[in-house]
């Protein structure tokens, strides 16, 4: 396809241990889960599970092990199991992560691994929160392309640079790890939150879009970008590596240069 490469050797020496045989390393962990079963107990509580896990197991595998082998009532959302659907954002050892992207061996397995629901959204059961307020904020920033004038018959043109301008914020999977890590969002839940701003950014800086002004107006609200106190929790939490705080800063600048 692209570069011509020298033909690789048909046979190579493999490093020891790669070729075959050997054991899969196992290790023991304690998974400390914040349980909340509103139908049986009014209060949330911690429950420990002692598990034997293998090589490259992730926190999601540990949760599955509990659900499938120990306690079927443990509830959590998950789907893709490789970090692209955004179902399983949760607080692991105190920080927001995706359970399916967090390898157990990267955590300190000598201490219990704590797992709890993300903060700031209504808790429904165990690790499940009500996502509706989160999506409501997302919908409010008009997350869709709006263009004036005639529909082109073929595609709209866009230069490679213009496309690159908003690439980072197109990666968002709406997992809410950012918004639910934001200390401002925890306070009263009114703040639009980083995820909504990220998705507004994706359109504000898309050269094909004509409604940037409207979105800037929406985010110029008292619950908009100005509530961000640049604590960077969102950027650190984002499993897609989006530079969330940077995107927020860019939206702030855009509002400033529009009004001033």
């Amino acid at each position: 396809m692209s570069t011509e490469l020298p033909e690789p050797p048909s046979k190579i020496e493999l490093k020891a241990g790669v070729g075959g045989g050997g054991e899969i390393p196992t290790f023991n962990i304690t998974l400390r889960v914040r349980r909340y079963l509103p139908e049986t107990t009014a209060e949330a509580y911690w429950e420990d599970f002692k598990l034997t896990m293998y090589g490259t197991d992730r926190v999601l595998d540990a949760l599955h092990k509990v659900k499938w082998d120990h306690d079927g009532s443990l509830s959590f959302r998950r789907s893709c199991a490789h970090g692209i659907c955004g179902s399983d954002a949760m607080r692991i050892n105190g920080r927001n992560r995706l359970a399916c992207k967090t390898l157990l061996k990267d955590l300190d397995t000598s201490k219990p691994i704590t797992v709890e629901a993300i903060k700031g959204l209504p808790l429904e059961k165990d690790l499940i929160v009500d996502m509706e307020p989160f999506f409501q904020s997302y919908r409010e920033i008009m997350p869709f392309l709006i263009s004036k004038g005639h529909e082109p018959t073929k595609e709209r043109y866009q230069s490679v640079e213009d496309r690159e301008r908003f690439d980072d914020t197109t990666k968002c999977i709406l997992c809410a790890a950012c918004t639910s890590s934001c200390p401002v969002f925890w306070t009263d839940g009114q703040y639009f939150g980083p995820a909504a701003i990220v998705n507004a950014h994706r359109f504000i800086f898309d050269s094909r879009d004509d409604a940037g002004d409207m979105r800037l107006e929406i985010l110029n609200d008292k619950e908009g970008v100005w509530r961000c106190r640049t604590t960077f929790n969102c950027t650190e939490a984002c499993p897609r590596g989006i530079q969330v705080t940077k995107a927020i800063a860019e939206v702030k600048q855009a509002i400033l240069s529009r009004t001033v």
Binding site: T3, A81, I84, E124, F144
Partner: protein, 595 residues
């Protein structure tokens, strides 16, 4: 129980479901029922691209695309459907662009295109750049763009509503030749609200099934945990046929043990496969194109290496994808996802160490049979008024025995759109079909049975046993013994399933209960897949029988149609009736599939 009334109800909010919703939502009162939040659907996992003969970067036309699709599907593709898809592909891509999808661009600012396996210029002369893409996140962008447009058009979503039953009535009707038959008509669906545990019946003039695939029948799969073939299972239980269920695509390079997909692009960029001796074994299986042979051939070669004891790792159950001879910057720029997956999930640094890979169950070519208007068939020629299907759950059939890369994202857009329009148009003229009495009775009985069961069997255990036997016996190599062995296990699991119990007895977010329900669908589908595979005594595309290694056009150039029928027995399995459906030919005659 609550009853709702809509003109159109769409089951599933993946690419196909939301593409349909955008059309139907603007024409009729539409509700979308989905067991996942729309943006969690597995369409978001697709990486490579979506092809259309835009000819933005080099000469191309839809007719060549049609040919590639038919040949790729080993000629068991319905050619009228393939033509429709290739022709409408161009507008499908342009529509997405107009909706805002951020495609990668050429230096002139047009949608960029790249090569993909099996897509060729002028009937196989050379590879052609046909796949439109957005980095290695094409599926993600499609899913997001479609959801965004659903928000724009105020589509009504019922999130985390599991559809568990399809409501149909039967009435006597007469064919043109005067013979009587039972015509099915759709009345609505029954769904379970995960948050409250309540049943909601949706009465609808039109119902579109867009509930995606069934990869979880297998252990190693690139599919999500939630892809349990519910739509196919519901259709089958309601007496509808399933078409071509023996054809399942196994993608060669899934991360070993996990199944997470590493795109074909890796080998395109020069990565090669090695066994435990460090040998580049594809030199033996496909001496000319080696590692770039078609998916099914590579997958079989890999499985064979492992079978013959040259697998790697503690259990000698995978081979290695070697990128170490490539320039790190090159890998990083072209294959960022691969390197990240390998690092995150296996802790392997692909620059210095080879990555463990094994074929992974990827795509169900078969499904609920439809015609090119996406109307569901109740038998070879009778459509069901008001019932539509699109996406991976359906079988139009454009993928035949083997789907070409990038044709599925296309499928969901082209046929999703068609389904949305057709369903809304139908709803404009049709009346509601009266709901049967106690429409929820079947589901209530099923759920109560599980909730009150005092059985001793465990859902996870049964599912594991099923997935393991499917991986072992119904994967890339099949023969009579392996398939019969699998069926035996499946039958015993079905027996044990009657005795499962669950631990969570609550009403809120009872995923324990739903996993049990999903297992029921998986068992049904595994049985159908295996029986159909046993029935097809030839090798074609993704279906490879070691006891019948050749394609047999004389006897098997037909689609298979599996029905649930309590009076029938197929291959020793009671309750399944196997029929055939002719393949539609327009202008391409079967040839040997050679690359």
């Amino acid at each position: 129980m609550q009853v709702h009334q809509y003109d159109v109800v769409i089951v599933g909010a993946g690419g196909a479901g939301m593409r349909a919703a955008i059309e139907s939502g603007q024409r009729a009162r539409t509700a979308v029922l989905t067991k996942l939040y729309p943006t969690r659907s597995h369409t978001g996992a697709a990486q490579g691209g979506m092809c259309a003969a835009l000819a933005n970067v080099e000469e191309d036309n839809w007719e060549w695309h049609t040919f590639d699709t038919i040949k790729g599907g080993d000629y068991i593709v319905d050619q009228d459907a393939a033509e429709v898809m290739a022709k409408e592909a161009i507008n499908a891509v342009l529509d997405l662009e107009k909706m805002g999808l951020p495609f990668n661009r050429t230096p002139e600012g047009k949608i960029d295109q790249r090569r993909f396996g099996g897509h060729t210029r002028d009937h196989g002369k050379a590879a052609v750049r046909r796949a439109c893409y957005a980095a290695d996140r094409t599926g993600h962008m499609i899913l997001q763009t479609l959801y965004q447009n659903c928000v724009k058009h105020n589509v009504e979503f019922y999130n985390e509503y599991y559809v568990l039953d399809l409501l149909m009535v039967e009435e006597e009707a007469f064919r043109e030749d005067g013979t009587a038959y039972m015509q099915k008509r759709v009345a609505g669906v029954v769904s379970y609200d995960l948050a409250t545990g309540e049943l909601h019946v949706f009465q609808a003039k039109s119902v579109i099934f867009a509930s995606g695939g069934a990869g979880k029948v297998f252990k190693t799969t690139s599919n999500a945990h939630t892809l349990t073939g519910d739509g196919m299972g519901i259709a089958f239980r309601s007496g509808l046929p399933l078409e071509d269920m023996e054809f399942f695509q196994f993608h060669p390079t899934g991360l070993a043990g996990l199944g997470i997909l590493l795109t074909e692009g890796a080998r395109g960029e020069g990565a090669i496969l090695r066994n435990s001796d460090g040998e580049r074994f594809m030199e033996r299986y496909a001496p000319t194109i080696k590692d770039l042979a078609p998916r099914d051939i590579v997958a079989r070669a890999m499985a064979n290496e492992v079978r013959e004891g040259r697998g790697c790792g503690p259990n000698k159950d995978y081979v290695l994808l070697d990128l170490t001879h490539l320039e790190p910057e090159h890998i990083e720029s072209k294959l960022p996802d691969i390197t990240e997956f390998a690092r995150t999930y296996l802790g392997v640094e692909p620059f210095t160490d080879p990555v463990p890979v094994y074929p992974t169950a990827h795509y169900a070519m078969g499904g609920v049979p439809t015609n090119i208007e996406t109307e569901v068939l109740q038998d070879n020629n009778t459509t069901i008024p008001g019932l539509f299907a699109a996406g991976e759950v359906a079988c139009v059939s454009v993928h035949g025995a083997n789907r070409l890369g990038t044709n599925s994202l296309l499928d969901i857009n082209v046929f999703g759109r068609r389904a949305g329009i057709a369903a809304a148009e139908y709803a404009k003229t049709a009346d509601f079909v009266e709901l049967p009495e106690n429409p929820e009775a079947l589901v209530t009985a099923q759920l109560d049975g599980l909730l009150n069961s005092t059985g001793t069997e465990n859902v996870a255990e049964l599912r594991k046993a099923l997935q393991e036997i499917m991986d072992a016996n119904v994967q890339v190599f099949r023969d009579e013994t392996s398939l019969k062995g699998a069926l035996e296990v499946i039958e015993s699991l079905r027996e044990r399933y009657k005795n499962v119990s669950i631990q969570d007895k609550g009403k809120r977010f009872n995923l324990d209960l739903l996993e049990a329900v999903e297992l029921g669908f998986l068992l049904d589908l595994a049985e159908v897949m295996t029986t159909a595979a046993l029935h097809r005594k030839e090798s074609r595309g993704g279906h490879y029988r070691e006891d019948f290694p050749n394609r047999d056009d004389e006897n098997f150039m037909v689609h298979s149609m599996s029905y649930r029928d309590h009076n029938a027995t197929t291959e020793g399995i009671a309750g399944i009736r196997m029929e055939t459906k002719p393949v539609v030919f327009t202008r391409y005659q079967p040839m040997e599939r050679k690359y």
